[in-house]
Amino acid sequence: MISAPLLGACGSAATEIAWSPSGNEPVTKARVIIDSDYTLKRCDRRFVFGTRRCDRLRPHFPGQSGSAGAPEGQRAAQPGQCRNLLHPGAGRVIDYPTLEARSGGVIQRHQAVNHFLRLAVALGLITAVGPFAIDMYLPALPSIGAQPERQPQCGAATLMAFFIVFGVCSSSMGRWRISSGASCRSMAGLALFTIGSIGCALSNDGHNADRLPAFFRRSAPVPGWWCRALLCATSTPGTKRPS
């Protein structure tokens, strides 16, 4: 049964690792390359939310509606003429007044306009994963210690194992980097957390009728729900990963 909190601890620590900053580059500068058909070709912004915003960049041409009609040739969008189509289905066009973007150019200011609430919700969910993973199974500690074939300190040992793995992973692997971008890192961490939750849910250790397996079976998917909610909050259709 100790393996179940270990799995959860590994997932939780990996979630923390996944969101650690990856370098020293200035965060307000993102290299954006807009393709000839004025879709985003490449964006090496670090964070997933910034990438989502970059992915919505379309140039605005006066006299044309929306971004449907891009003119022929390699005409570049001029600074200040880009628009952000956050909700293309609804036809809602939101201006970035301070945006400076052109083909192959550099966006200097990249302020969040409409993503503030989404960012708050997603970061709140990420923040809540850790305390919920720790505190939700504290009421089950007496049940863990009350197993007849275990020592009473067993429950405390599971909590200690959780914190040991959590601390070691957070401190030693904080500079773990993947060249494919922070969004992949974060999703990998959350996926690992979900796998750990599934492992907790499926762990029985041969005691099917116990309270403890039932508790884990019911409570362990809760972090998975958080991860799913986070994925729903951060994912939008048609987005591109940073190359």
Binding site: E16, I17, A18, W19, S20, P21, V27, R46, F47, F49, G50, A112, F116, L119, A120, L123, G124, I126, T127, A128, G130, P131, F132, I134, D135, M136, Y137, L138, P139, A140, S143, S170, A209, D210, R211, A214, F215, R217, R218, S219, V222
Partner: protein, 54 residues
């Protein structure tokens, strides 16, 4: 727990960073209060399920 703060600090400055940070602090202070209650509720549900299953 720490990394969302770093994300807030990297993505926002000034007033927005303050707002986001206060929201995160709210979550961090409320969730340890709510989580044991939710956990005991889940335990009660699981005990009920075990008892009804047998």
């Amino acid at each position: 727990m720490v990394v969302p703060r770093a994300i807030v600090r990297d993505l926002h400055t000034g007033h927005e960073a303050t707002k986001l940070m206060s929201m995160l602090m709210l979550v961090m202070s409320v969730s340890p209060i709510l989580a044991p209650g939710i956990g005991s509720f889940v335990i009660a549900l699981s005990i009920g399920a075990v008892c009804s299953g047998h």
